[in-house]
Amino acid sequence: MKSKGQAHIMEYFILSFFVMVVIVLLIIFITTYQIGSSRSEQSDAQFQKTMFMLKTFSSSPLLNKLAYKEGSMLEDSKLTALSSIPCSEAEGAFGQGWFAEVKVIGNTVECTRDTYPNCGIWSFCRKSGNFKAYDVPVNIYRKTTGRVDAGMLTVGYYG
């Protein structure tokens, strides 16, 4: 009689222990998932921000040759003008925390007011630090010669 009662208590004890283990596992599982999904949302937000900047930069009339409504035809004189102004002013037009680089394929000369038009790399708001960047092909219109070159536009965000 006594041993049966003990067996009964033991049975309930094991069952309660099992339920507790399941609840603890469930809490760990949900917490891990929440942390993972919050990181993924953060990464998604940064990706969307970079995509938006990539599209804005490649279609901005501030940088594109006139009459190219679909964009991605960056004019070298406009790029040189924008790269010559302080980053804070460029951030006024495009927001903060970003950087960009336009590179004519096969050209390694950095563009400044002195090297223009015999150059092919324009950098905007480049700083040191961790960043995530994406690149897309674009055309670069050479205003002095009227030639259209192929290049890459890289846009990224720090942080």
């Binding site: 049975e11 069952l15 055309n139 030639r147």
Partner: protein, 169 residues
């Protein structure tokens, strides 16, 4: 019901509870797994392939008219084949510029990340025929996971269809 019967019912209840909890765990696991699956079509790759095609078409070849840009050279090849553009035939110019330009733009990504296939043909090619040109890996046409960009060129009162496919190498 005797004492043995009561014990049996109690044991069965415990078993049902355990099975019930395990089922809830499995259902939760499946729910989290399904909700974490993301669509494979990437916004970035779509933007990349469209910009790549647009860039290739607009780029200058370095030859004179009617082969000034790659899109003009494509029209010239399809509609006036064999025409000379400053020392070379339009077909030669197209053959030497398109694959090199695409591979150069893709750079390190070419064959490490992406492979490409580009096809140029007149509209209604299947019915009316004409000259069709293609470069790259034709097998990409049958791939399931690929990014496709299409453009049309209207020149000499005729439409040209250009399709560029980008897929994982």
């Amino acid at each position: 019901m005797d004492r043995h019967g009561v014990n049996r019912v109690s044991g069965q209840t415990s078993m049902i509870m355990i099975v019930f909890v395990v089922l809830i765990m499995i259902a939760l696991g499946v729910f989290f797994l399904v909700s974490s699956v993301k669509p494979t079509i990437s916004e970035y790759e779509n933007l990349y392939v469209h910009n790549l095609l647009l860039t290739v078409l607009r780029t200058d070849t370095g030859y004179r008219s009617p082969c000034t840009t790659i899109s003009e050279t494509m029209s010239s090849v399809a509609l006036t084949p064999g025409r000379n553009c400053g020392g070379k035939s339009n077909t030669e110019i197209l053959d030497e510029t398109v694959p090199i330009l695409i591979q150069t733009i893709l750079g390190d990504k070419y064959l490490t990340k992406y492979d490409y296939y580009i096809k140029v043909e007149p509209e209604n090619y299947e019915v009316a025929g004409g000259i069709s040109k293609s470069y790259g890996n034709q097998k990409l046409e049958t791939r399931q996971n690929k990014w496709v960009a299409n453009e049309k060129i209207l020149q000499y009162q005729s439409n040209l269809r250009i399709m560029l496919i980008l897929a994982d190498a």
